[in-house]
């Protein structure tokens, strides 16, 4: 109980609560704006939070993460343009319901389902993270290496155009992480005699470039896009009948979302798609889906918000990111001098509880904001793109520059942006590359330490049962998408909704 109270005291200052509120506001706005995404906003926020104490910094980012996932549903429902990829499934039934004149009801269902999913996953986070951390304290470098390889293999099944492209992007990310001086031998690798590269490529400019600059260039091609808007919204909480209809869906989707979130690398988009598909599968009124069915809104919304809490479990307990956004939060933790993992949980449990309380607070805040301000937030899409995206560039430039006060980092950001833009065109998402980049050091360190411990005998890796479990899971993770694709090809089955995003 004491660490929980300590965690509460870490958060309970007006400054920290204000920062969390700011994180929620930014999150809802960013989530609501098509093109802007939570990973992008968290990446842009990262340089600003470097100057803060670790608790408020991470709390603000976690709050933004929670709220950004919900914010996407506002524009998904009102203008049929999901502000964020996790809200894409919400638009399938949210927009038709809004078009029927029940936009307030659709937003109310989305808000309630989101908070239920969010709180459910936070309770699981509270129970599972310490448990997982306790198990992980017995991990040696071999187990960590196997775990990191498993996490990378999960890139095969995260959302996006293709498993293969995700894996290639992940491998390129790990390769980029090897730039700089080799830790154990001191040999310089891929440095081209550039002094700035000897310590490796700075995470932040790459993250900002991939997420923000890549999307900026993408948006420059969509200047003519016009959204059909549904106005005059008064948000209405679900009535007794709606609650009766959606309670089972919320519970099921919360469980699915939390589980998907806990899996390394899997994000809110996959959770939302699964939440929608499962809501439809279990529904008696399948034919109503796609026409404005409450379960079609509750399913993805509960699942995508549940995935946020779930994704924090492996991030904090194991140091393995649960999603693209948590990969950036992990980078922030590292920049603040923490090594996320079991020892963080063991030595500073109050830190984990502080994050838990911040996320809980964020859920309550975005519910209030959603109920009161959905109408206002739907208007953020009225901000001219020709002013919005230069502002993103300003933040990107300053953010990339300010971490090391170096113009070299700004160039890295620009190049990463151009590469990210071209990658996106060919189906390579930025999230897998970021995952690889952030997991890279863990892969290399644990591999080097393992080989020393094992006297360079590879086969001795298999002496550990935990390693064997992770390697078996890796094989399953790598082959599952292919088997699934093959099965759907053979049996001609098409999923109701497909994911593309985090």
């Amino acid at each position: 109980m004491e660490p929980i109270l300590e965690g509460f005291s870490l958060i309970a200052s007006p400054f920290n609560v204000t920062l969390i509120f700011a994180g929620v506001l930014i999150g809802v706005v960013v989530g609501a704006l098509p093109g802007l995404s939570s990973p992008m906003a968290v990446a842009l926020l990262l340089p600003f939070t470097i100057q803060l104490e670790p608790v408020p910094a991470i709390a603000m980012m976690a709050a933004l993460y929670c709220a950004g996932t919900f914010g996407g549903s506002i524009t998904a429902i009102l203008i049929n343009a999901p502000g964020a990829p996790p809200a894409a499934a919400t638009a399938l039934d949210g927009y038709p319901m809004a078009a029927r004149g029940a936009a307030g009801r659709a937003l109310g269902i989305a808000a309630i389902s989101s908070i239920c999913g969010g709180v459910f996953s936070l309770l699981v986070f509270l129970l599972a993270a310490p448990l997982l951390a306790r198990i992980a304290t017995s991990f040696r470098p071999m187990e960590y290496f196997a775990l990191a390889v498993f996490a990378l293999s999960m890139l095969a099944s995260i959302s996006g155009k293709s498993s293969l492209r995700n894996l290639i992007a992940g491998a390129v990310g790990v390769l980029i992480s090897t730039v700089g001086i080799h830790l154990t031998t001191g040999v310089e690798r891929f440095t081209f005699d550039i002094p700035e590269l000897t310590e490796g490529i700075n995470f932040i400019p790459v993250l900002i470039g991939l997420f923000a600059m890549g999307e900026l260039l993408n948006q420059s091609q969509k200047l003519d896009a016009v959204y059909e808007r549904i106005t005059a919204v008064v948000v209405r909480l679900p009535d007794r009948e709606d609650f009766r209809r959606i309670r089972g869906t919320i519970l099921r989707s919360s469980g699915i979302g939390t589980f998907i979130g806990i899996l390394p690398a899997e994000g809110a988009t996959v959770a939302a798609i699964m939440g929608y598909n499962e809501a439809r599968r279990w529904a008696k009124n399948k034919e109503e889906f796609g026409t404005g069915c409450p379960e079609g809104i509750a399913g993805p919304e509960a699942a995508n918000n549940a995935a946020t809490g779930g994704a924090m479990v492996p991030t904090l307990a194991l140091g393995i990111p649960g999603s693209g956004t948590t990969a950036i939060i992990l980078a922030a933790l590292i920049m603040h001098g923490f090594r996320p993992g079991p020892f963080l949980m063991k030595e500073t449990p109050e830190f984990m509880y502080a994050i838990f309380i911040a996320m809980l607070l964020a859920n309550i805040m975005f519910l209030a904001i959603g109920l009161v301000g959905a109408k206002v937030f739907s208007r953020v899409t009225l901000i001219p793109r020709a002013l919005l995206w230069p502002s993103v560039f300003v933040f990107s430039l300053i953010g990339a520059y300010s971490t090391g006060a170096s113009l070299f980092d700004v160039w890295v950001m620009l190049i990463a942006g151009l590469v990210g833009f071209i990658m996106l065109r060919h189906g390579f998402g930025p999230a897998p590359l970021v995952m690889g980049l952030i997991l890279g050091s863990l892969v290399e360190e644990s591999l080097s330490q393992s080989m020393i411990l094992l006297d360079n005998q590879w086969l001795r890796f298999f002496e550990s049962p935990i390693v064997n479990v992770f390697f078996a899971l890796t094989v399953i993770g790598l082959t599952w998408p292919w088997l699934k694709a093959l099965a759907s090809k053979v049996f001609r089955r098409t999923p109701v909704a497909e994911a593309s995003g985090e």
């Binding site: 293709s162 290639i168 690798r189 002013l387 230069p390 502002s391 300003v394 006060a405 113009l407 620009l414």
Partner: protein
């Protein structure tokens, strides 16, 4: 984008129907060239001192990753065979060439970054806040001018005064601290 072809339509032939996806073949070629270049660079790593001979050599992981990239890349041109939407699944985003506006935007941003050292960060930000909206078709000067003056100033003040970041003062010596 449809995967079906009307009689007389040679789009499918140009893109390469059948087993191999033409565009992905080009992507594979780029990835293989990158892998080849990266592998070549690993051959130039310094020799490890005898003291570290027991450690994993510095080129080991990069090479392992390069081989992984090669192995995965050669599968790319065939991946569409497993997708329910076939080649259309991958062609949706790249069905049209990159818009000239994207290239112009990228060019402008490069020029702005290039100008930071002599023009100062502040003036470069103001320039981008004027030029990018103009490039993207915004012509309302009553919005552009206040925006270009106020927004970069606020961001610079936030980072300089509050967070203590030192920015390039340029030839004019503009320093916000």
């Amino acid at each position: 984008m449809s995967d079906r072809h009307e009689p007389g339509d040679d789009t499918g032939r140009r893109r390469g129907t059948g087993l191999v996806h033409g565009t992905d073949l080009a992507v594979t070629a780029v990835l293989l060239a990158f892998a080849g270049w990266a592998y070549y660079l690993t051959t130039g790593f310094e020799e490890v001192a005898d003291l570290f001979a027991q450690d994993v050599p510095p080129e080991f992981l990069p090479r392992l990753l390069i081989w992984t990239i090669v192995a995965l890349s050669v599968l790319l041109p065939f991946e569409h065979l497993l997708k329910p939407g076939g080649r259309a699944h991958f062609d949706e985003a790249r069905s049209t060439p990159i818009a000239w506006m994207a290239w112009l935007t990228a060019g402008l941003l490069f020029l702005v970054v290039l100008s930071i050292q002599w023009a100062s960060t502040y003036l470069a930000l103001i320039a981008v806040c004027v030029l990018l909206p103009l490039l993207w078709g915004e012509r309302r000067w009553t919005i552009i001018i206040p925006y270009a003056l106020v927004f970069p100033t606020l961001v610079m003040l936030l980072f300089s005064k509050l967070l203590g970041v030192y920015f390039e003062p340029g030839l004019l010596g503009i320093d916000f601290r």
